[in-house]
Symmetry: C2
Subunit: 343 residues, 2 copies
């Protein structure tokens, strides 16, 4: 059973995934992502994953067989276990609980080579609907406080399988970064009685707009004012909404369009970089955050190795200004999917 442990000084929880325990030699050997070999996420190999939790399929196809467009399965090597209770308790002066949670994989497309930049918008929409369906289902489990959805694209960003997929982790705690955002947004709301993210959307999409990357009917994409990484971007819904799962179907459509566009721009400017994409949405039970929190997606291309002392300090040096990054991305012409897929 994995364990959740709290750092006594900073209050940060970490998962100690003891089931995955490794010996030192596992770190010193080089592990290379298998390319072109067997893929457990490709159609026909459904039996190589745990049984599916959800799939969007054509009428005739059977469960755990080909015929799906999006497929959600439990992670075969989960960082958290779904069975059991939290059993929060002290460990000397420390705090721990069982590593209870869900760890799922959202297989975005049957096509091994497709990316968000070359997928039809409709397929990205389906991936977003799968996010929503899984959030709504997992929300019923009162042990969970937060659902984290993220994507590691490319080996440098931490992907271990090439086939396009996102991951979902349901957690009995709220991750640190989201807590920091909630606290900051709450303080701002107390002071101004406005949502800080709404203010950001307004400031960044009116006037001179030096950090605006793209804009459509439902969303803006900006380079944040104080980005930690070069070419980091943030996709925000224009209308206030704290929880992703409440997005309207028009907004799911707009978001699919925006994701395709922004990943396409990033691919054009940075030559198809590895990247991480993280959905920040309100905690599951936090009714009080509906006024001041505003869900959004953070997109971080993996470009720098600067990742040195940042771990130990929480302090970042970014060699590219967001205004410059936004200008490159804004001006990037996105190739047509047909061209892009033949590169």
């Amino acid at each position: 059973m994995p364990e959740l442990r709290k750092d006594p000084v900073t209050g940060r929880w970490v998962i100690i995934a003891t089931d995955r325990a490794r010996r030192p030699s596992d770190f010193t050997r080089h592990t290379v992502v298998q390319k072109g070999g067997f893929c457990p996420f490709c159609p026909g190999n459904e039996s190589k994953t745990p049984p599916e939790i959800l799939a969007y399929r054509n009428g005739q196809s059977e469960r755990d067989k080909p015929g799906w467009s999006v497929r959600v399965v439990p992670n075969k090597f989960p960082a958290l276990g779904i069975e059991g209770n939290l059993d929060r308790r002290a460990d000397g002066m420390y705090d721990r609980m069982n590593g209870i949670g869900a760890h799922e994989v959202i297989i975005e497309t049957p096509n091994h080579r497709q990316t968000f930049a070359d997928m039809p918008e409709k397929s990205i929409e389906d991936v977003l609907w799968a996010f929503r369906d899984r959030i709504i289902d997992l929300k019923r489990d009162r042990r969970f406080k937060y659902i984290l959805i993220f994507k590691n694209h490319g080996e440098p960003a931490g992907a271990t399988l090439e086939h396009p997929h996102c991951q979902l982790i349901a957690l009995p705690i709220v991750p640190r970064q989201v807590l920091d955002e909630l606290e900051g947004a709450s303080r701002y709301y107390e002071l101004k009685e406005r949502c800080i993210f709404c203010d950001i959307v307004h400031q960044e999409s009116s006037g001179e707009e030096p950090r605006l990357v793209a804009q459509n009917r439902g969303f803006v994409t900006v380079s944040p004012y104080a980005p930690r990484f070069p070419f980091e971007t943030c996709i925000l819904p224009v209308n206030h909404e704290s929880s992703f799962e409440n997005a309207s179907s028009a907004d799911v459509q707009n978001l699919a369009q925006m994701i395709k566009l922004v990943i396409g721009k990033m691919d054009a400017v940075l030559e198809r970089p590895a990247y991480n994409m993280v959905l920040h949405t309100a905690p599951l039970s936090a009714q009080e955050s509906t006024d001041y929190y505003h869900w959004h997606i953070e997109l971080i291309p993996k470009l720098t190795k600067v990742a040195g002392f940042e771990w130990g300090t929480g302090f970042y040096i970014n060699p590219t200004s967001p205004e410059e990054a936004a200008r490159y991305l804004r001006e990037a012409v996105v190739e047509t999917p047909e061209l892009a897929s033949t590169r």
Copy 2:
């Protein structure tokens, strides 16, 4: 002039080092650390660095000439500028100030190939004295709130030059991670009227000691209870002290011994990994933190590529338990310097 910008939601400051601004193509080209070529930190090449700020030299040798054992110079490509005032001001709804600070390089030894594991303890002591001398000097500048000392060892950990060196950054703000520690330690002190780090030292070095890595007259090295990374360790002074620069000369000696030992153990268990080392000490002006803060050194070997979604969440999955990591490190036999240096 670099700029310091504050993220409006989380309150995290970042340096936008515009002087180092790079075009997208700079990220897509591979940069490789130059090995075996010209080294600006080797003796005889003193004129290739900015003039020295501090050096420990033998009696006859001249400034910016060979004959030194430790040499401190300004970083040739500083992330912060030393001249000017902070000029804190609003930028629309945001906050910024000038990137005022010091960015120095501490060249640890004239010997290009030496590491903390093979250096004589006396040489490590000298490096620690240089830390102290620089902190005491920079402390006089009232613009600075924090002095960050860290080491990136090896290319995967962010080092761009091979010659052994540490870096020092004097900042007009306190880095996020240190702020989190100060807040947590202050809350604990309010509740218990004890230093939380003293309690950790006590708990980890008495009884069963499953997370104890090493111990000498002045220091303990432990695997933290909730480590973010495999084989992360923390070196803590046994006696309470908030600021590194107040360490006694006996403790400087004990710390040099401990650093040599722990790096040696890490080298033995993990086959000379790249690593980051960060000194966490109290903010410069914070007299109030003397009771509850306790300086320490964090040591993080760079082993995993898992660094994916962690950026976007502040949430970590660690595949190795600290008890297991501590056992490997505790049991590691450190080779003699002579053997180690001929590997």
